[in-house]
């Protein structure tokens, strides 16, 4: 079972997170995209939107919680305007 962990964060933070986590043997893959967001951050460079990074991490389900919590702590989610992390399964358990 593979799980995807996604994270929306400030511009530039994605690359930093990728550099910190890419050596972790529990992580199967880590990717960074750049985009714009309308609701996550109060600082807006472009009208109603602000630049952000989207990090996608692929990890085995048994390690997902550990990596999820690690990403949360590295992003400093206990302070406002720091982004959002989510987790979703990439395939469902057969019935």
């Amino acid at each position: 079972m593979i799980t995807e962990i996604g994270a929306f964060m400030h511009k530039g933070e994605g690359l930093r997170l990728m550099n910190e986590l890419h050596g972790d043997k529990k992580i199967l893959g880590i990717y960074v995209e750049a985009g714009r967001t309308e609701d996550l951050f109060a600082f807006r460079e472009f009208g109603s939107a602000s630049e952000n990074d989207i990090v996608t991490i692929l990890v085995e389900a048994r390690h997902a919680t550990k990596i999820f919590d690690l990403v949360c702590s590295k992003m400093g989610l206990d302070s406002p305007q720091s982004g959002m992390v989510f987790q979703m399964p990439l395939h469902t358990q057969p019935a």
Partner: protein, 148 residues
């Protein structure tokens, strides 16, 4: 470090919508009109339908925009429909969208919101403590009659 806590949110879905470049703003606006907080948009390049449409394919932009919106379970269908209609995804080559259930989400939640959310639980606990305990009484069930 030990006093830091992560609050997991559940019952949420992520809607991903891939549309032609410059169509994302309309889709996001439609989603916001029906209650979505906002969206994250990235640029992408996609091919496939474009090639299969023959000469008509030249009218479809290869550059795409990918819209991601996280919504609660109850508003997901409403937001999905609004985005679908705004993106005109019922027309060929306009794009595709899908929805995935999330296991959990974590983000910053202000202390007062957390306190408010946990208040009903604490109240219920206090109420249960204050209420006098009911005495358990044994009841005897009538013996089953064995059929003839």
């Amino acid at each position: 470090m030990s006093d830091r806590q992560i609050t997991y949110l559940t019952d949420a879905l992520i809607i991903t919508c891939i549309v032609q470049a410059s169509h994302a703003d309309d889709v996001v606006k439609a989603a916001q009109n029906v209650g979505a907080q906002g969206a994250t948009v990235t640029y992408a390049r996609g091919t496939g339908v474009r090639e299969r449409m023959g000469l008509m394919g030249v009218t479809i932009d290869e550059q795409k925009e990918m819209v991601r919106i996280i919504v609660s379970q109850e508003q997901s269908d409403r937001v999905f429909e609004a985005m679908y209609l705004a993106g005109e995804l019922d027309k060929p080559g306009m794009g595709i969208m899908f929805m995935n259930k999330l296991d959990r989400i974590a983000t910053y939640i202000p202390d007062e919101v957390l306190a408010e959310a946990s208040a009903p639980k604490a109240k219920a606990k206090a109420k249960a403590k204050a209420a006098p305990k009911k005495r358990k009484t044994a009841t005897r069930r009538p013996a089953k009659k064995v059929g003839k």
